[in-house]
Symmetry: C2
Subunit: 360 residues, 2 copies
DNA sequence: TCGTTCATGTTAAACGATTTAACGGCAACG
DNA sequence: CGTTGCCGTTAAATCGTTTAACATGAACGA
């Protein structure tokens, strides 16, 4: 075997032609046309077995690396999927990103990443730049306050658009996410079944679809149990640890604090757990808490967090599938995938303590 | 203003030419050559002010979106930076990814993402695919067991290669990360100063550079304090919450358990905190624990985790810078950026309890 | 023997941008 | 009035690949 892995130092002194192996180069060397080389490398039946093997062997030996940009120019297919996420540090989105990346690469697509950081202006810039690479599809979790027009602007270039996790209602694009209304209602029902009647919510934002749906789920859960909705028990803010901690502190400071709470996501719940501990309360006894999403971290906690499992990797894969299907057939009917969530009971929920916790 | 945001339903019935605005189209419409359009759009001084404005206006009106693939073919510069990470769910890598993405997009680059999932074979496939898009640079955190040859294979195509967080010693590529030997030693020194003499390590793996360096830092810290190294106090495994929890359980089960421990990363430490709590021990009193990296989550914990801050976003930006600099000048001398870490003392460390915790 | 078919290859034209030498027009200059 | 110089613009080549249309023989059936 010859050593075709040049050292960086060596590379500096080498003659000239490194990394410049093209179809034309191979064609010249083999005395064939570029067409034949191209077909041979892609295992076309139009080229004879012997030639194909020869071509592939020489290509490997010369270290040929196809130039997909050039190919894309000709075929109008890049095999790139642009991922526009509003955030990637939040673990639920990290899990989503991982699942989507996995599903897409398995299907031969490559991921071009853009992060909006929950800022519509930045999102516009970022998605615009991504569009210049002509991805076959956009997979988007829109930033808060995004409008239908923001997504339409993408689609106007003829690129497939799929929404994941979050959606812009009425935008008419494919969507994959969890059925949040049902999901949060599930958490409320669990608390109600344990005997809680005063249940708070560590909430998200009304500016994003998940915030609205999860709040709706909270209300639906209360209504189903015949409990009245008390707006003072609902906190609003970003679904972060710090915020969850603050929100729980505020709930506890109420004149008539709740005995339990559901939350917008697990991160809020983790923060709340910290606050409970800091306040000297024991979760699963003095206070009950239900998380949302059931990310990997939830079951590692002590005590284990009762949470609503939303199958993030599953709907991430579903979103990838939707994108692939729309690339294959741009005129297919719009499809929505809403995964039904499942309550996972662990140790942060228990019947309310009847007496002492009530100031009044 | 005219409404150039076509509805998806509308798009179906529209004549024909949507999203197909090219330089040539604009040229025809304006009665100019493509050369002029190209120059005008890039604000070249060679084109008259009036023409430039006219061109830019029409381009905007027609919704022109440049095709970077085509441009790249001509200029041999894609403005893509390929990011090859071994993992993206671990929050420390998430923080890194976020910082790198931010720095690169600020510099006009776009991120093409590949994840190896700590699997060399998958890494080879993934990086190979990324290479087909001809990124201007590769930013890589190599999977465990990667060899120099794995990176050299990339560089042989003439693409800049920069290592981040992890490195392959002797590979001769740029690197940005933290000075882990100093870092962990800092943690050990802190515990020693508090009076601990029996200090364990919740460890990583020897198959990755950070695992080796952090272990070396542990040993260096002990040596500096005149303490002897006891291999039974060192645990090995992936730096995950579950694993940290298991490792701490094993440490506690020793005949002569340590009174404190440093860890490979914060995740291990968080897991260990869970285990301590589950074991009925109070961290910061019965046991002292020092994390590593000081990710955002560390300060939200209750009690706050004492940890060694490694400036992940900073060295992420440094890595991005190294890539940009090497793109600009491929023959510049190899550069290594090793950020000095800083100990952040919070509430998980305290002097050892002198008596009862010793079985013997 | 003479079309036909078949198996393999080749030619040449895209794809959409960038780049550079050359060009036409015009004002100024001698 | 011819020449020079400048300015704005253009023609044409180029990047690396794919693909429709065409060429070349050999084999085959009649």
């Amino acid at each position: 075997m010859d050593d075709n892995i040049p050292d960086q130092a060596q590379a500096g002194q080498m003659p000239a032609s490194i990394g410049k192996v093209t179809l034309q180069g191979l064609a010249r060397e083999l005395g064939l046309s570029t067409a034949t080389i191209s077909l041979a490398l892609r295992d076309s039946p139009m080229v004879a077995e012997a030639t194909r093997l020869k071509v592939q062997e020489v290509a490997r030996a010369r270290g040929y690396v196809a130039n997909r940009g050039a190919a894309a120019l000709r075929t109008a297919r890049t095999n790139i999927v642009a991922l526009g996420l509003h955030d990637i540090v939040n673990p639920s989105f990290t899990e989503l990103l991982a699942a989507v990346e996995d599903a897409l690469t398995a299907a031969g697509k490559t991921v071009l990443l853009g992060v909006s950081q929950e800022d519509v202006a930045r999102q516009t810039r970022t998605l615009g730049t991504l569009a210049e690479y002509r991805p076959d599809a956009f997979l988007v979790s829109p930033a808060a306050y995004s409008t239908i027009a923001d997504l339409k602007a993408l689609a106007s270039t003829g690129i497939a658009v799929v929404q994941v996790t979050r959606e812009i209602e009425g935008s008419g694009f494919d969507f994959a996410g969890s059925d949040d209304v049902t999901g949060v209602a599930l958490g409320v029902a669990h608390l109600v079944a344990l005997g809680h009647t005063r249940i708070g919510m560590l909430g998200g934002f009304g500016a994003i679809s998940t915030g609205r749906k999860r709040l709706a789920g909270y209300k639906a859960g209360l209504a189903a149990a015949g409990l009245t909705f008390d707006p003072t028990l609902v906190m609003e803010g970003p679904g972060l640890r710090e915020e969850g901690r603050r929100q729980l502190a505020r709930l506890l400071a109420l004149e008539e604090p709740p005995t339990a709470a559901v939350s917008f996501n697990d991160l809020s719940a983790f923060g709340a757990l910290m606050e409970l501990q800091a306040a000297g309360l024991t979760v699963g006894r003095d206070f009950s808490l239900v998380g949302y999403d059931d990310i990997g971290e939830a079951k590692v906690w002590h005590p284990g967090l009762t949470s609503v499992h939303t199958f993030i990797p599953e709907y991430g894969r579903a979103a990838a599938d939707l994108a692939l299907k729309r690339i294959a057939d741009p005129s297919r009917p719009v499809e929505r995938v809403e995964m039904p969530p499942k309550l996972v009971v662990r140790a942060t929920t228990a019947p309310p303590v009847p007496v002492k916790r009530r100031p009044l």
